[in-house]
């Protein structure tokens, strides 16, 4: 026994340790093969301070563990395939990062291995916008991918996901966002600035075949609708800046409002309780639940303010069932089973997981990225 070892032994013994502690085994690094978590939350991050380099954060809703990240480029939009096994990103890259030639593409990633699969070149008219789920949507059968364009003239690129090719462009002057029809994969609706809804039907080649315009259903000056539409089959729920819910059926040639109702009582309206945020509405159709991010003292211009409270409603009775803590939410998303609610706390750049719904919910928070905006859930 040399002197150094004797000293180490004596210190170890003095500290109450054992002399026979096993040495750590050598390790060989490998790649974790795949994400296996069943309930995943996806949060798209604009990363405004270095906007060429947006991110999609992936978190396990059960454990709260951060599972991985995918780069989504410059103002990339994100949607999941209908079977949730693929992540679709429409984005653009400049050849020299901050300058150079622009290339716009749809990327397809494996949602489990988080590996890149393939890409499809698309028009560089792609809207370079903040992440909103209505700016890129798949048809119900997964055949057609619709991508919002803005030059700033507005149109929609039509991508055939079977042929892996962009096949058409539908002009949508004065209209914005894409609301696919569940029962007709060749049809989508869009909100227009004159308060109407346009419904476009494409043909087998992805070209426009028909277009109808609804009556005026909202007033973009007096009480504009948020562009977020929460889908429940062939219906979409919208909410207005002043807190009126509208349910719209988009199945037919012409979209129609089927019901409207206010979120707040007259007294609450007088206190300025209004919706706010970027994805302020969450609807879970099977459980008839609707959640809205609400703030008090609302005025013209407050429509992106974070929540002071999250209000939960029953869509059947139109009654409020809970006023929940706001957690500075700007975006909401229900879990697939409807039992949880997810939110983005913009002040803490965190995903908030509401494990229970009610006035005093059980809540966990996971910090992600910098400026997460859009939430999706598996």
């Amino acid at each position: 026994m040399n002197r150094k070892f004797a000293l180490a032994v004596s210190i170890s013994v003095a500290l109450g340790g054992t002399v026979t502690a096993a040495e750590l085994e050598p390790e060989i690094s490998k790649t974790i093969p795949a994400v296996t978590a069943k309930n995943r939350i996806y949060a798209a991050d604009i990363a405004i301070n270095h906007i060429a380099d947006g991110k999609l954060h992936i978190v396990d809703a059960d454990s709260g563990k951060y599972l991985g990240v995918i780069g989504i480029g410059f103002t990339g939009q994100v949607t999941l395939s209908n079977d949730k096994r693929e992540i679709l990103v429409s984005t653009g890259y400049l050849s020299r990062g901050q300058r150079g030639d622009r290339a716009d593409i749809v990327e397809v990633w494996d949602a489990d291995t988080l590996k890149f699969k393939y890409e499809i070149p698309i028009s560089d008219k792609r809207a370079m916008a903040l992440q909103y789920e209505g700016l890129m949507r798949l048809s119900a059968d997964g055949r057609w991918l619709f991508v919002q364009n803005a030059t700033p003239a507005t149109s929609v690129s039509v991508i055939d996901m079977q042929a892996k090719k962009m096949v058409g462009e539908v002009a949508m002057p004065g209209c914005w966002a894409i609301y696919p029809v569940q029962s007709d994969s060749k049809r989508f609706a869009s909100l227009c600035g004159d308060g109407t809804i346009q419904t476009v039907t494409i043909d087998d080649n992805g070209a426009e075949a028909a277009r109808k315009t609804s009556a005026k259903v909202f007033d973009a000056e007096a009480d504009a609708w948020f562009m977020q539409g929460e889908q429940a089959g062939d219906d979409y729920y919208f909410v207005s800046f002043k807190g009126n819910v509208a349910r719209v059926n988009v199945a037919g040639e012409t979209a129609a409002v089927t019901e409207t109702w206010p979120l707040a009582s007259k007294a609450e309206m007088q206190k300025g309780w209004r919706p706010g945020g970027y994805q302020p509405l969450a609807v879970h159709g099977d459980s008839n639940r609707l959640y809205v991010a609400m703030h008090a003292g609302g005025v013209e211009g407050s429509h992106k303010n974070p929540a002071k409270q999250i209000w939960a409603f029953d869509t059947q009775t139109k009654k409020r069932i809970a006023r929940m803590p706001g957690h500075a939410a700007i975006s909401l998303e229900p879990s697939a089973d409807g039992k949880r609610l997810y939110a983005i706390d913009i002040e803490k750049a965190s995903i908030v997981i509401f494990d229970t719904i009610g006035a005093k919910p059980k809540v966990r928070a996971v910090q992600v990225g910098e400026v997460p905006i859009q939430l999706e859930a598996e």
């Binding site: 604009i46 405004i48 301070n49 270095h50 906007i51 060429a52 410059f74 103002t75 653009g92 400049l94 990062g97 901050q98 300058r99 622009r102 809207a127 370079m128 916008a129 903040l130 909103y132 919002q148 803005a150 030059t151 700033p152 003239a153 507005t154 002057p173 004065g174 209209c175 914005w176 966002a177 869009s190 909100l191 227009c192 600035g193 004159d194 973009a220 000056e221 504009a224 609708w225 948020f226 562009m227 706010g276 970027y278 703030h295 003292g297 609302g298 005025v299 013209e300 211009g301 407050s302 429509h303 992106k304 303010n305 974070p306 500075a328 700007i330 913009i346 002040e347 400026v371 905006i373």
Partner: protein, 174 residues
């Protein structure tokens, strides 16, 4: 044109047209065709990470370096005068956007409402300083001319977003 008629009165429209000419966007507008848009900033959020909780919803300040400076009533992005530029000029090396959005902001000093053109400055990496976000009369993209969650460098050859200026167009009347 259809869009414009929806969001701005005829006098304001004339002023927006003039703004477009001032900023040299004629050629871009010609290529845009039926569009007559004025543009602006990129996104950001009505909150203050410095800790003073939620920002006010409307502006009324007189400090040009502060987010709540009155001209910023619908500005969403990095203030160019924080980034080496000025209130109305882009920083060295950045291009003025060809399309912009004109907001209408109230100047508390003279009591008048002004049309303000929010040009993005383009072609350089995001400035990253003085991020502000106000949304008076801002609307979703179906009113593209008053939408600020989009990169208004979109019509430039170099589309990278750097920062946003707020240039006076004229007094808003009616």
């Amino acid at each position: 044109m259809k869009l414009l008629q929806h969001w701005i009165d005829s006098l304001a429209e004339r002023q927006v047209r003039r703004a477009a000419q001032f900023t040299g966007r004629r050629s871009a507008l010609a290529s845009i065709g039926k569009w007559m848009v004025a543009g602006t900033a990129l996104p950001m959020l009505p909150f203050d990470r410095s800790g003073s909780a939620q920002a006010a919803s409307q502006v009324a300040g007189d400090d040009p370096m502060a987010c709540d400076y009155w001209r910023n009533c619908a500005l969403d992005g990095f203030l160019c005068n924080c980034c080496g530029g000025s209130m109305s000029d882009c920083p060295p090396g950045a291009e003025v956007s060809k399309v912009t959005w004109v907001g209408t902001c109230h100047n508390p000093k003279d009591g008048k409402d002004y049309l303000v053109s929010y040009n993005d400055c383009c072609g350089k990496v995001a400035c990253g300083r003085c991020l502000c976000n106000f949304n008076e009369r801002e609307r979703p993209g179906y009113r593209m001319g008053v939408h600020n969650d989009i990169n208004w460098c979109m019509a430039n050859t170099q589309t990278m977003y750097h920062c946003t200026v707020s240039a006076i167009v004229g007094v808003a009347q009616g």
